[in-house]
């Protein structure tokens, strides 16, 4: 099992969700987040005063999938979340030792 964390543009959330559901991934957790990568935000001007906004609104997805699903899931996210411009986000993958379904104590991949 592996955990995929993807930070994406908020406007791409629906497309990413649809793409994941299409390849059979139904479980996911979504966070509204703020952050920046190398591009460091933008400038806003209110009555002539400039404010640099370096923490931009983002959406973070977390999903835990079976090992053989990882590549397909990552590919689905990349394809559906890409706009080609700065700020498209990042994907992080890490190993998961155990998954437990609270309702019936199921463990391992079956619990996903």
């Amino acid at each position: 099992m592996q955990k995929i964390e993807a930070v994406i543009q908020p406007s791409k959330l629906d497309a990413v969700k649809d793409a994941l559901v299409e390849i059979g991934i139904n479980g996911m957790t979504i966070f509204e987040a703020r952050g920046h990568g190398r591009q460091k935000g933008h400038t806003e001007v209110y009555r002539g005063r400039e404010y640099s906004v370096d923490l931009l609104p983002k959406v973070k997805l977390e999903l835990v999938v079976a090992d053989e699903m990882v590549d397909r899931a990552v590919q689905a996210i990349i394809t559906s979340a890409r706009t080609g411009t700065i700020g498209d986000g990042k994907i992080f993958i890490s190993k998961i030792d155990e998954a437990i379904r609270i309702r019936n104590d199921e463990r391992g991949e079956i619990a996903l």
Binding site: E44, G48, Y51
Partner: protein, 473 residues
């Protein structure tokens, strides 16, 4: 047969010759009698109509003035509260809105008790007296201020101006003044600055009252001097006296919701029709003229500010557009009942660019923290509008100095510009000196500013024990 016909014909002729005059004489007599009756009846009806017309005019004027009063209150209630509320950080949204709302309650009672009397009661050239305290003598019959509406309508209409004027100042000291100090300051300010200024410009025998023969006739249709210059200049004095907000200008303090400000500004624009067109004090042609000028001035100023912004920053911001509209509304206020629609557009355009420069350049140059630009928009826009009124005022719109007599400079009355400048200078002086004294007194008794911790927590929590946005629930 033929003889009979001739006889009848002759008979008819005879009848016509003899009876005709007789008959017509009778008819004429009868007609004369009925004509007299009819004229008498018409005259009677006209007399009755006169009362009916007067009554209709009174009810028409009164209806408009009551609506105008409500419109002006709408400028404070939702209008200014939303406009200012959106411009502060979210921890201060309720505190800022409360500063306006508190005026709606406190100044209303103060007005009834003594302020109306000080502003509009009999007195000297500078201030009214105590004849009308507790609204004594302010009943349902018209008085000298407006011949076709009940004096209570006039009184309540003017009250709405007295509410919004101090509320405008709160934009300068937003996010850092104690609620208690704010209340004390506003009450004293209304008594010692608003009351005298309103009396001088609009009151019976006032020094600057152009309509009632003041010694220095100053044109101020709807309160450029009384409302905007006094509040704007006092705002600047207060901002400087109080000092900057913690972290200003290093810490970013952008508006927390331009959406709220946007709605507020649009409500201000609508309400301003009551403010300016209502100042005709009747539902007549002058009200129309002021209504049109108001609208054109606001629109042109929105374009003026936005244009300046577009050139300097490459983008037109929503906040810029609405700020420009408000600046135009401010500048057209003294001129509204004196200028043509095209003059209104000129005043608006000039005001839009001028106030933009005041807010963006001049404030940065001097470094004072006029949080929401009460001075940059109201003080600067009001001063500019009052002076421009002296240029653009036109006797065809409002023959205030007598039919055909030149009113403004472009009509040949250059002296009026001087009068306007004197009026404005007086308003500046009274506002500066008066506000400093009041601030000093309140500072030494109650203290003006919240503590640093309270300022960091925000006025919502520290002054009112609540929050505008409770994200947890």
């Amino acid at each position: 047969m033929r003889v009979a016909v001739v006889k009848v014909f002759l008979g008819l002729l005879l009848t016509m010759f003899v009876a005709g005059p007789l008959l017509s004489g009778q008819l004429a007599e009868a007609q004369t009698a009925s004509q007299t009756d009819r004229i008498a009846a018409l005259e009677k009806q006209a007399a009755a109509n006169k009362d009916a017309i007067a009554a209709a005019q009174t009810s028409g004027d009164n209806a408009w003035m009551l609506v105008s009063s409500a419109l002006v209150l709408m400028m404070s209630g939702p209008g200014l509260a939303l406009f200012y509320g959106g411009l502060v950080r979210k921890k201060n949204v309720l505190g800022t809105m409360m500063q306006t709302f508190a005026m709606m309650a406190v100044i209303t009672v103060l007005w009834a008790v003594v302020l109306y009397s000080l502003a509009f009661g009999d007195g000297n050239a500078f201030i009214g007296g105590f004849h009308n305290i507790f609204l004594r003598g302010v009943g349902l019959t018209p008085d000298v201020y407006a011949p076709t509406i009940p004096s209570q309508t006039f009184m309540v209409y003017q009250l709405m101006f007295a509410i919004i004027t101090p509320a405008l100042i709160s934009g300068a000291f937003a996010e850092r003044m104690k609620f208690s100090a704010m209340l004390a300051f506003m009450v004293l300010w209304s008594l010692f600055i608003y009351g005298p200024m309103a009396h001088m410009v609009w009151g019976k025998g006032g020094l600057l009252n152009a309509a009632m023969g003041g010694r220095i006739p100053c044109l101020d249709f709807a309160g450029g001097t009384v409302v905007h210059v006094t509040s704007g200049v006092s705002a600047l004095v207060t901002a400087i006296y109080l000092g900057k907000r913690l972290g200003y200008p290093k810490e970013p303090m952008p508006p927390h919701s331009v959406v709220l400000s946007f709605i507020g500004a649009c409500l201000l624009w609508v309400g301003w029709f009551g403010f300016n067109a209502g100042s005709a004090l009747a539902a007549g042609t002058l009200a129309t003229s002021a209504f049109v000028a108001t609208h054109f001035g606001a629109a042109a100023a929105a374009i003026g500010w936005s244009g300046a912004e577009w050139i300097r920053q490459g983008k037109v911001s929503a906040l810029g557009a609405i700020s420009g509209a408000v600046a135009g509304l401010v500048a057209i206020t003294p001129a509204a009942g004196f200028v043509t629609p095209i003059s209104a557009i000129w005043i608006g355009l000039i005001a839009g660019v001028f106030c933009y420069l005041m807010v963006v350049k001049v404030k940065a140059l001097f470094g004072y923290d006029d949080s929401l630009d009460a001075f940059g928009v109201h003080g600067a826009g009001g001063t500019l509008g009052a002076v421009l009124t002296g240029f653009f005022a036109n006797s065809t719109i409002n023959p205030i100095f007598g039919a055909g007599k030149a009113t403004g400079l472009f009509e040949g009355n250059g002296h009026q510009v001087l009068n306007q400048i004197i009026g404005v200078a007086l308003a500046w002086s009274i506002s500066i000196v008066g506000t400093l004294i009041i601030l000093f007194v309140v500072d030494k008794t109650l203290g003006l500013r919240v503590s640093e911790d309270e300022e960091r927590d925000g006025l919502d929590l520290s002054q009112h024990g609540e929050e505008g946005y409770d994200w947890a629930h």
